[in-house]
Amino acid sequence: MSVLIDDSTRVLVQGITGRIGSVQTHWMLEYGTKVVAGVTPGKGGTEVEGVPVFNSVEEAVKETGANASVFFVPAAFVLDAFLETVDAGIKLIVVVPEHIPVRDVIKMRHYAIEKGVFAIGPTTPGILSPGKGKMGIMPASLFRPGRVGIISRSGTLSYEFAGILSEVNVGQSTVVGMGADPVILRNLADILELFERDNDTDGVIIVGEVGGEQEEKAAGFIARRMTKPVAAYIAGRYSPQGKRMGHAGAIIRGSAGTVEAKQEALRAAGVEVLDSPIHAAQWAIKHKLR
């Protein structure tokens, strides 16, 4: 087993005919991912990297048995494509693009949860299970098969952590980019739960950053439910405070959002807080996660 991606995952690439979509399809195939279909309305009947392109998600699912979808669609068209994908019955969706309007994300999130779809993003590098496959843009060379799960808000920092672990022969079970937008499609706690249940994962690293309250809320879940060791790094200690205006956010969140508040909440839940990414290696070795 692994988290979200396994041997039965049959990937549909939305926006496959675009510049990024076609390049990333190449890398996903090269990594051994079963990319079975692409969708770009109006380009049905063509092929990209040997993968058949369809005009609609419904058609692609019917013809190829696709059961997961990764998005390389321009931000303005993501909401429409997302709803279409949910309606076509796909249960795993990875939304890579950045700069999607927050109100679109809100609609996507609620529709997906209502229909029992596990969606991650936006602004995510996707999901990679070393040796099994990847949905998204993660550069495969940094990952090794193993037993540590990584969940990251930042794309490039997830690569950094995987690379640091791989250098000391600590492999990863699955690496998930949870997305970096103010509203994301699935909260951190939901993703942690997948790793807690996964037989191939022995420990989890959370790569968080300043802002929002995902890490604080996840701390509650960790204290109640996680039996596996968890470490966390929070980026942004040195980041200048924005010239904030308005009080509504501060009123509903209280002190949540600062690096210190996140670290404190996680520590109180028994999480080992890492001062710097490089400390992930020692943590994994100490917990015999090699």
């Binding site: 990024i20 990333q24 303005a76 890579v96 950045e98 700069h99 309007p101 927050v102 109100r103 994300v105 809100i106 609609k107 609620h110 209502e114 590098p125 843009i137 550069p139 060379s141 940094l142 990251s152 808000r153 930042s154 794309g155 490039t156 920092l157 690569y159 950094e160 690379g163 791989s166 250098e167 103010p182 509203v183 994301i184 909260n187 790569v207 950053e209 929002g212 309250e213 995902q214 809320k217 980026a235 942004g236 200690r237 040195y238 980041s239 200048p240 010239k243 904030r244 205006m245 308005g246 009080h247 509504a248 956010g249 501060a250 009123i251 509903i252 209280g254 710097s276 990414p277 490089i278």
Partner: protein, 381 residues
Amino acid sequence: MRLHEHEALDIFEQMGIPVPRRGLATTMHEALHIAGEIGYPVILKAQVLVGGRGLAGGIKVAHSPDELKELAEGLLTSEIKGLPVRKILVCEKVEIQKELYLGITIDGYSGRPVIVVSTEGGVLIEETAKNAPEKIASIHIDPSFGYYPYKSRSLLRRLGLEQKIISAWSDVISQLYTISIRYEALIAEINPLVVLPNGGLLAVDAVLEIDDSAISRIHLPLPDRFERMENPLERRGREIGVTYVDLDGDIGLISSGAGLGMASMDIIAKNMRPANFLETGGGITADLLYRCMDLVLMKPNIRAIFINVYGGINPIHEGAKGVARYIKEHKVKIPIVAKALGNRQEETWEILRSAGVHVVTETATEKAIERLYELVGTNRE
């Protein structure tokens, strides 16, 4: 994009929210003229995009033309939290019976809009939220069904208010909610919403922050978003399509990804001081990194540059060509350390090395910054 108070007040007024009589002045003489039409006393409010403006001295009351001249002159030559005051809003001063608070924002965790109200509005609202949470009430809006006015009425009933004020206030909430939808607002706020002696309400302040990702589809007149960026380097960053934040150190930074950029800053700051934060996002090209080099080196005191990029979505070998071209054309002499990993990394290293860049091939950013530290030495200006 954050709007100035005067811009937000204009929008609120168009939507039917009661706002004070007012005028915008860029000179003392304009302020004098506006005050003459409104009648004394008037309130002068610096139009700067910072929070806590009142406590920082950006709001004054003028009772006479002489006092106004002095205060307007003072404000228009001052800075509030480092930002120059170019415009002041001259407003009628009303008699205040009570100050209320109304804010609409997005609750990021639950992914729903939330309306927040309080009977204790004013500058200390966040203190009230901590110390007297019973004076704050909030309600989430179900995104599948949207907002209906009964939501506001039931919210306000929880504060134990009379029906008369509930009716007037829920109208304002409905209007502000409509604004938050039409303008794709991340924050829409009135603080304080003033209760007048006749029982009427008046929005004497206005905050509106628009979702940058939605600006292109808002078909309503909006102010220019570049013009309002006060820092020329940050404005240049926006123009070339990267996020640049000006800091006070001397180590330049170019990173792909906000998290990696923040982690890089955190590590640099242990022994040195970052001059900037720069995050390219997923759109690296040779030209973009050429322009990033130019932007980072606009500050004259840069002692070294750290480039930290990953080739996932970004073609880093293309980016490397831009860096190399910049170094060659501008004969850059300061040390440049680069960590560039991922797709086509060997090709990238080759291009960078031949341009004289110190390439670090280990994964940990810490290792690359150690190398940078060795190169710039410990003597700091």
